[in-house]
């Protein structure tokens, strides 16, 4: 393995890992803020108990999301310095703005939320969690704008004198048409994940004998989680469909690879299952639904969808002429077909299963029913796992499907890697981070399991700072590390 392979593996491993925690953070922060607001407005104890219970799980999750996020920002410079030089003028800005607008907001107001129960008036305390959530949305917006630019570069010009891509329209980058469909898709998937987390955990607790006294509480959480997951899931499907059409337009090769569509078709059929030849130029066996791909890709039942072999010729003609003009090496422009093909299907499949799981839990617990079957608890816990893996498959698909490009049409991944980094350094990095992340996963899951099993604590009226006197300053803190 050379530095390029190692750097790619590292990017894949740590980014997919990081993004296990991100959608839970985005989705759960909104749900918790909603629960706390419901408590402030209605005074119903169950809402505060749920706020605190899911709040604790949220913090266990958030901590890993934050610390693994630091690596994300540093690794562009560490492993991808030529990429950073080439695109820094455009790509750096959203990262910097993300830090200034999102990270400060999230970290500061989460600190206030964690420690502020006895210091902030109730409404303001609930507001801090809303601000954390807004911070996560800002964060998603800017990092997705950066990623969308890699999928579909806009608002720039290539400067032959400096050999760099240079920003000339910031708003074009912010309002990139890929961004406008990617942001809702990713954020809705995060809401679905947050909902799946709540419904899965609550359903598991719902059927546990030791928590039988809290069945009403858990049924409440099941309903909240399931509704969020199902509504958001519908949105994920709609935005995903819109994304497919934009993708066909700006990255036709990715769509063709997603379908393992070797030859152009009109109308094109959707493949349920395709096996290609080892050299990746034709299909050997396939099961297909007629016309469906045409609809997914173009919005009409008989639209033309270009195949891999035609696109390969087009790309070679377009990009293979003058490799000196920009940062790429002429070569094969076809991504890894099995990876793109299967991750695309898994993404859609587990997304549908997540929604189905949430609906099934809702159905099985309707009108106070309590499922007695032993598999119910396991099925419930698999719902958030499915939701999270949907995000992982989605990202692996969209990033692998862009290959060999780092920035579509401008720079190949191979040309972005750091020239000054040695194989030893890169290997050390990927091994250290992978082992560390593995250990942290075990610790995190252990803590999650422990605090899920505990269930919600009994209701305790939090001290209201509006009616506290100065003599209370010697009371123990309501929360301490």
């Amino acid at each position: 393995m050379d530095v390029l392979d190692i750097a790619r593996w590292q990017f894949g491993i740590i980014t997919v890992y990081h993004f296990v925690f991100v959608p839970i953070t985005i989705g759960l922060s909104a749900i918790i803020a909603g629960m706390e607001t419901a408590w402030v407005r209605t005074g119903k104890q169950e809402y505060l108990r749920l706020t605190k219970f899911f709040g604790r799980l949220f913090l266990i999750n958030f901590a890993i999301g934050v610390v693994t996020g630091i690596v994300q920002e540093f690794q562009f410079g560490m492993n991808w310095s030529d990429y950073s030089r080439f695109v820094g003028d455009i790509f750096g800005a959203p990262l910097a703005v993300e830090g200034l607008l999102a990270f400060f907001l999230e970290s500061t107001f989460l600190g206030l939320w964690i420690f502020g129960w006895d210091k902030l008036p109730r409404g303001l305390h609930a507001t801090t969690m809303w601000l954390v959530h807004i911070g996560t949305l800002f964060s998603a917006w800017f990092i997705l704008a950066a990623n969308s630019w890699m999928q579909h570069p806009v608002g720039y010009r290539y400067n032959p004198a400096s050999g760099r891509a240079e920003l000339n329209d910031f708003w074009a980058v912010m309002l990139n048409k890929v961004q406008l469909v990617t942001f809702p898709h990713v954020v809705l998937a995060a809401y679905m994940t947050g909902g799946a987390f709540v419904v899965g955990v609550a359903a598991w607790l719902y059927v546990r004998k030791e928590h039988v006294a809290d069945q009403a509480l858990h049924r409440k959480a099941i309903r909240i989680g399931a509704i969020v997951a199902l509504v958001a899931g519908l949105g994920v499907a709609i935005t995903g469909d819109a994304q497919g059409k934009i993708m066909t337009e700006v990255q036709p090769m990715k769509m063709a690879a997603a379908e393992a569509l070797y030859e152009s078709e009109q109308p094109a059929s959707f493949s349920i299952f395709t096996i290609g030849t080892p050299d990746g130029t034709s299909e050997k066996f396939a099961i297909k639904i007629p016309n469906l791909l045409s609809f997914l890709a173009t919005g009409t039942w008989d639209g033309k969808v270009e195949g891999i072999n035609d696109l390969r010729a087009t790309y070679e003609k377009e990009f293979g002429q003058d490799p000196g003009a920009a940062y790429y090496t002429a070569g094969d422009y076809v991504p890894n077909i099995p990876v793109t093909y299967w991750t695309f299907r898994f993404m859609i499949g587990v997304g549908l299963l997540t929604a189905a799981g949430a609906a099934l839990i809702l159905w099985l617990t309707r009108k106070g029913r309590t499922p007695t079957s032993g598999w119910f608890g396991l099925m419930a816990l698999s719902v958030p796992v499915l939701a999270v893996s949907g995000s992982s498959f989605g990202w692996i698909f969209t990033e692998m499907g862009r290959q060999p490009w780092a920035v579509f049409g401008l720079m190949t991944t191979a040309n972005g890697v750091s020239p000054s980094v040695s194989t030893f350094e890169a290997a050390t990095s990927v091994i250290v981070l992978t082992v560390l992340y593995g250990v942290l996963a075990v610790i995190e899951l252990g803590l999650m399991a422990r605090y899920i099993r505990k269930g919600a604590e009994p209701f305790v009226e939090p001290p209201d700072p509006d009616i506290r006197g100065p003599q209370d300053d010697d009371q123990p803190l309501t929360f301490a590390y």
């Binding site: 920002e73 830090g99 200034l100 980094v421 590390y481």
Partner: protein, 337 residues
């Protein structure tokens, strides 16, 4: 003023924000086994920074992101060149950040002890390595004509670099002790105050040697003034700690770090990363910068949002202004809530 100069100053400000704020976080973490006699006292120390450490750490993320945006070449050369030290810093920041959140999640002694170790080592490593990194940036490192760093890890471990690491280490220890003295009550406050005086004396000696060396190496009139002010602030802060004026003493170390970092950036200007190679290229505010358009967009964002961030971050410190003592640490039963 040129926008490249504006952004050089803004990046200096971001690093000053980072070192003055997370500097005391690192100090508190490293001093855990020194200042605290038992678990409750350790928790007192950890809770002085509990609500704010994460916000403090964001300064380095914004500094990194702003460098990427405003000086892509600087970001690319520095981050790919200082590869292994940065990897160590990342690992340290990861385990340290988790220690805050996970330490109290289980009661077993071995669990707490391991996270304490993560917190102590995770604070020590970046406290030293940031100093090593900055000393090397100011002095210069081998950068070739392609703007690539050509050295190794050992290139950075030169006497000047190591002394820089010792400076940040002793300064952050002092800063942390001052902070604990300012934010706690009871015995630990007295212990912290007493230790801060001794640490301040050590830091003053190390810092003066380093700053004189840096001034001779690459300094200008401006950096000389700032270095002298930094040294004065440190001596004054230490003396004020001795007098028991904890607030002003903390202001003293805060000013010391701010002035010293400012002085180093002034010494650096207009380079951002000078080369030590005869046929190499020094990265400067002009040849490493982004385009004027990007800098203009970024300037607008910074002008609008930095005051807002400073506002709410200051407000957090106001909300959590109260001193903490052992009697504030909730019992296990309370914590279960």
């Amino acid at each position: 003023m040129e926008l490249t100069t504006v952004w050089f100053i803004l990046i200096a400000v971001l690093w000053i924000g980072y070192f003055t704020l997370e500097g005391f976080d690192f100090g508190v973490g490293m001093l855990l086994p020194v200042l605290a006699r038992d678990d409750t006292e350790r928790r007192v120390m950890i809770n002085t920074i509990g609500p704010v450490w994460d916000g403090n750490e964001v300064w380095v993320l914004v500094a990194g992101g702003a460098t990427f945006a405003a000086f892509p070449e600087w970001y690319a050369t520095m981050f790919s060149g200082f590869y292994l030290p940065l990897l160590l810093i990342l690992v340290a920041l990861i385990v340290r950040g988790l220690a805050f959140e996970y330490r109290h999640k289980r009661d077993e002694a071995h669990w707490t002890a391991r996270w304490d170790l993560a917190l102590i080592v995770g604070s020590f490593v970046p406290a030293v390595l940031w100093g090593v990194a900055f000393a090397n940036i100011v002095h210069g490192v081998p950068i070739d004509a392609d703007k690539e760093f050509t050295g190794t890890l050992f290139t950075l471990l030169n006497p000047f670099g190591l002394l820089g690491g010792l400076v940040t280490l002793t300064l952050f220890l002092t800063h942390g002790a001052m902070f604990v003295a300012l934010k706690t009550t009871g015995e630990i406050r007295l212990r912290a105050r007493e230790l801060s005086v001794r640490l301040g004396a050590v830091a003053a000696v190390v810092a003066v040697v380093f700053l004189v060396w840096a001034q001779i190496d690459t300094g200008s009139l401006g950096s000389a003034v700032l270095f002298v002010l930094a040294a004065v602030a440190l001596v004054a802060g230490t003396y004020l700690a001795h007098l028991g004026r904890e607030g002003w003493a903390f202001v003293g170390t805060f000013a010391t770090i701010a002035l010293a970092v400012a002085g180093l950036f002034v010494a650096l200007f207009p380079d951002v990363m000078p080369t030590t190679l005869a046929d190499g290229v020094s990265l400067t505010t002009t040849n490493a910068s982004a385009t004027a358009y990007t800098l203009k967009v970024m300037t607008w964002v910074a002008v609008i949002f930095t005051p807002i961030v400073l506002g709410y971050q200051s407000w957090t410190y106001w909300v959590f202004r109260r001193r903490i003592g052992t009697h504030h640490i909730p019992t296990a039963e309370l914590a279960a809530r």
